[in-house]
């Protein structure tokens, strides 16, 4: 306010015509957000953004979002983008809220502006573009986070532990094993061992496309952890090509027992457990 006589740019215009800007801004934003949120919600958001913007704008017309005075505005925009991303708004619907301010300002300019204000509109426009881009950036991050959570949920679903026999459980692995997935797999398997009181686990990797050093490392860790609980693991479903890569990479499975097929692994586990499998003769050939 001090330099009101000198400063006739957009910042002054924005500050002086608060209610009108907010009204026009809400109006413009509502056109694209119709039905997605109530008018009251929208107006509240717009009012908050307006207050934060005005609070951050000091003297003069040249500002960038990186200015320290805009910290509150940045936090607010990030917050709004987050909420929108979680609520399933599209990126356009998220950014349009800010871009609508340009239209609102043009309206205000026509009513009250002079040449100086018009000239400063380029600066204003640049700042608003920055706000929009910033929102989009945060929006993208938030969407990534949502996707990550869904991937986690999928992970939970895709790792079933099945009971094969009293005291023997099996974990059929399908897909690529990375470190995040292995942790989930490990936890599930170990918990299942404890819950079912099983002393044998068969990790079947028929559905794992490739075994590299890292995957092997993860498998070894799982087996070691199971041993600490007092259970033994057998790794089954090792296809010939996988056996070849394992050897070529020089991976040592140490004293961990491996079997080519799940059925052989089951048989081995049954034997260790002291259960004999006997085929009755004479009854099958009738």
């Amino acid at each position: 306010m001090a330099d009101a006589a000198v400063d006739k740019g957009w910042a002054t215009l924005l500050r002086r015509n608060g209610d009108e800007v907010v009204a026009r801004w809400s109006e413009a934003a509502a056109q694209s957000l119709e039905g997605r949120m109530t008018r009251a919600e929208l107006e509240r958001d717009v009012r908050e953004m307006y207050d934060a913007l005005v609070a951050g704008v000091g003297e003069g017309d040249r500002h960038t979002l990186a200015d320290a005075s805009f910290a509150e505005l940045r936090a607010l925009l990030a917050d709004v983008s987050h909420t929108r991303a979680r609520q399933g708004f599209s990126s356009t619907e998220t950014a349009v809220g800010v871009f609508a301010l340009k239209e609102a300002m043009l309206g205000v300019l026509e009513e009250h502006g002079d040449l100086a204000a018009y000239r400063s509109f380029a600066d204003f426009s640049r700042l608003i573009d920055e706000l929009g881009l910033y929102m989009l950036e945060v929006y993208a991050q938030a969407r990534e986070a949502v996707i990550g959570e869904q991937a986690d949920a999928l992970l939970e679903l895709s790792t079933p532990v099945v009971k094969l026999w009293d005291g023997i459980i099996s974990l059929p692995l399908v897909g690529t094993l990375d470190s995040a997935r292995t942790q989930v797999v490990m936890e599930k398997l170990l918990q299942a061992l404890v819950d079912t009181g099983s002393e044998h686990a068969i990790i079947d990797i028929t559905g794992v496309p490739a075994v590299d050093t890292q995957v092997a490392q993860h498998l070894l860790k799982t087996v070691q952890a199971a041993r600490l609980l007092g259970a033994e693991c057998i790794i089954s479903g090792i296809r010939p090509q996988i056996a070849q890569t394992v050897v070529a990479l020089g991976i040592e499975f140490g004293d961990i027992s491996t079997k080519a097929s799940l059925s052989e692994a089951l048989l081995a586990a049954l034997r260790k457990q002291g259960t004999d499998v006997v085929r009755r003769t004479g009854r099958r050939d009738r």
Binding site: A66, H82, Q141, A142, A145, A180, E187
Partner: protein
């Protein structure tokens, strides 16, 4: 622009006895629970805190631990910082090697703790002391 780490809550514990090491463990567990770390991540953090608190006591001649819940954007985590004014670590690389020990442990304290957390920083000066800072984030 990088988002700053926000400290939500925290506590400071002096480490001068065995019992203090247990107290740091319990503080780490309580905060890990409130930061909603998964059970395995809680266990990893508490174990790392236990190793580092013991280091502070045994090698640093006592000191203090700050345990806090931190937030970085949408993620929360627990940060534990251990400070002592002990003799410092003359060869940090060596101290971070598996199996190396200057005391009675298995030589897994520092290197083992590093594997259990997401962020690990040591600053040490011979004669002035050692500061170890670790963070475990929610996934």
């Amino acid at each position: 622009m990088p988002t700053p780490v926000v400290v939500e809550s925290g506590e400071i514990h002096e480490i001068h006895t065995d019992a203090d090491v247990v107290r740091v463990r319990q503080a780490a567990r309580t905060l890990a629970l409130s930061a909603k770390l998964s059970l395995v991540d809680q266990t990893k953090l508490v174990t790392a805190a236990s190793e580092l608190a013991r280091n502070t006591l045994v090698y640093g001649g006592g000191g203090r631990a700050t345990v806090e819940v931190v937030r970085l954007g949408p993620r929360r985590g627990v940060r534990a910082v251990f400070v002592d004014e002990g003799p410092g670590i003359p060869d940090l690389d060596l101290a971070l090697t598996d199996g190396w020990t200057s005391g009675s442990g298995m030589g897994l304290g520092l290197s083992g703790a590093r594997r259990l957390v997401d962020e690990f920083e040591v600053s040490t000066d011979v004669g002035t002391g050692t500061t170890v800072s670790v963070v475990k984030w929610t996934r």
